[in-house]
Symmetry: C2
């Protein structure tokens, strides 16, 4: 046989490793299903019954491609956000939209700024398009807005990434703090404000932003509060010229039809999202109680997960994580010190948390051996 395909240098340079190993892969390795699925910040409480019914009703219609303009869902989102439909773009989860955003702005060698230990999939996309990542450390377990903006100015960043509430720590800044930060964004830098967990945050966490502000794009998702992680519906809100630019690169027919229709139904069920936020609050409290009972500390969280500070180093936390997984509890943890002293536990059902209460002391003991 002859020579294979010729990959460009950039592609050759990329690692073959993947950002996350999913729970199904781990279950196949373990040879049994997890007893509690608390690692991916999914919503164990599920989507609105309206969304479930809408998706079931649409199942037989799935022979049709989805509306490539996402008209109805976009219109409802715009109404609720107080923007125009031209300020909104839908995509295959925030992951998909982050990819498009990096592709739109980052040419090989361009600088991008993020926090060391923030969302790995953003970094995956930046590497994938040849961007150069500059990372600043967390400060007191918070993303350090001042340091991010200083670094962005220093390296003339095309993008600066900030998640609020933050993943993996669950910490947050008030909307006011972010509003003030907007004026410090360097000319020509776009702030990527990832608000995946905003539904769980205290009132006032979402900054008021003029939808035509060219300095920022905010990202939202149906994967967390709305319980539709497997549907893949994320969206970005920003100035019209930026939103139009996504049409140059996105997979126009990339969205699942039932997902589009399910997301619209989910969005309209205000009761359900309120209920879920309440259930998540109760679950976070219980995780705090379970942690305390084992002598470890749940950190405050504005998201649907809790970072539990194990009080030692990363090696210890990794040992605890490994023991939890071996005992059938799927959890994840921060990648970078000193945040990697924690494990990250998603809000679970009471039954999930019963398992956690049973298994956490065992895992802590195993790790101490």
């Amino acid at each position: 046989m002859t020579q294979g395909p010729r990959y460009p240098e950039l592609i050759q340079s990329l690692p073959s490793s993947v950002p996350f190993v999913g729970p199904e892969v781990q279950e196949r390795e373990l040879g049994r299903p997890f007893r509690a699925r608390l690692g991916a910040n999914e919503s164990v409480f599920g989507p609105s019954p309206w969304a479930v019914a809408a998706m079931q009703d649409e199942a037989a219609e799935i022979w049709k491609y989805a509306d490539a303009t996402n008209h109805d869902l976009k219109a409802e989102l715009a109404l609720r956000m107080g923007v125009t439909p031209q300020n909104v773009v839908l995509g295959e989860g925030i992951d998909g939209i982050l990819g498009y955003t990096v592709r739109l702005l980052v040419a090989p060698g361009d600088a991008v700024v993020t926090s060391d230990g923030a969302y790995p999939t953003f970094n995956y996309h930046v590497h994938g398009y040849g961007g150069v990542l500059h990372k600043v450390p967390f400060r007191d377990d918070h993303e350090d807005i001042d340091a991010l903006l200083d670094k962005a100015r220093e390296v003339e960043a095309k993008l600066v990434y900030l998640s609020n509430p933050d993943n993996p720590m669950g910490s947050w800044h008030s909307g006011e703090v972010i509003e003030k930060a907007l004026d410090r964004i360097p000319d020509g830098t776009l702030l990527v404000l990832d608000e995946a967990y905003i539904e769980f945050a205290p009132d006032g966490t979402a900054p008021r932003i003029d939808p035509e502000d060219p300095r920022v794009v905010r990202m939202r998702t149906f994967s967390k509060g709305y319980g539709l992680a497997g549907a893949r519906v994320g969206y970005a809100v920003g100035a019209q010229p930026l939103i139009r630019a996504y049409d140059k690169v996105r997979n126009h027919f990339g969205m699942n039809r039932a997902a589009q229709i399910g997301a619209l139904a989910a969005l309209q069920d205000d009761t359900w999202i309120e209920e879920v936020v309440g259930l998540v609050g109760a679950a976070k409290e219980r995780i705090g109680t379970i942690a305390k009972a084992s002598g470890v500390t749940a950190l405050p969280s504005a998201a649907n997960f809790v970072a539990v500070d194990l009080g030692r180093d990363g090696d210890y936390a990794r040992a605890v994580l490994k023991a939890l997984i071996a005992e059938g509890v799927f959890v994840r943890m921060p990648f970078v010190a000193p945040q990697d002293r924690c494990i990250r536990i998603s809000a679970g059902t009471p039954a999930d948390l019963d398992v956690l209460a049973e298994v956490l002391p065992v895992a802590l003991e195993t790790a101490q051996r």
Copy 2:
């Protein structure tokens, strides 16, 4: 406000136009739904009842991300194709996988070869990554394999695109012809063999290809025969080093969970796909009859649509198309002469084709005025 984001030159150069305008956009313009949806080569016969049931059962579980490795679906596909799971990658429709394929191979300025008038979404991706498209004309309404390979050699193409059966003409080459062509692929060129419509083609249309052959990647989809266009499940089969490379760039968690599970159920329902192929065959015959009754000619087709030769030029065909749409029949047509003397009509239900039989003579008359 300050300066907006700084787009790289490549992005600035891209047009804001989109590859296809969907039927929903046209319906909103018309102010009423289409009477017959025959423009996007969807399967009006729908997916297997097994797939519908599987997706409905999974609706409440959609709070979970899909298995990012697509393990179960990939295993079943591999079994049926006689390859290993390491020869298969899943993606968000062939559209998604074409995008990844172009990204993997094409750096700005790299040459790519296709037929003039072949799939526009492939061209969209090539432009989007800065590739330089070289187009060769159809020959007797067939993609011209010799000309494609000659051009690929001449311009040292990274990719050469061939759809078999062809879209938009429905013409095809035998598997044997393609097998012989494999040895003429230039060193370092990858043949992208788009087999989206293969389920409808005569036996022997799919070439036998060694899965480890580094010169070709074949693309298949659940959007056509399997009736899951709105689910967004496509796959590529190729040599393991190439398939591994997709993991460097794909949106690992980009697939819809219910779609993944629905596709697996659809794949296992051999009876349904046989039935659909039969129904499509009957529909194509009826389109032939309807065309003949109006004095126009349906061309032979190995796909789930028919190119109907109107016997005049592109302006005339465009006028007929416009009249069909105004009368409530969604159809499309080839973009490039001389194929643009045709309109392209997807296989419809008997009720759809009753509408076509009623409306086609009216549209032909309108266009002749």
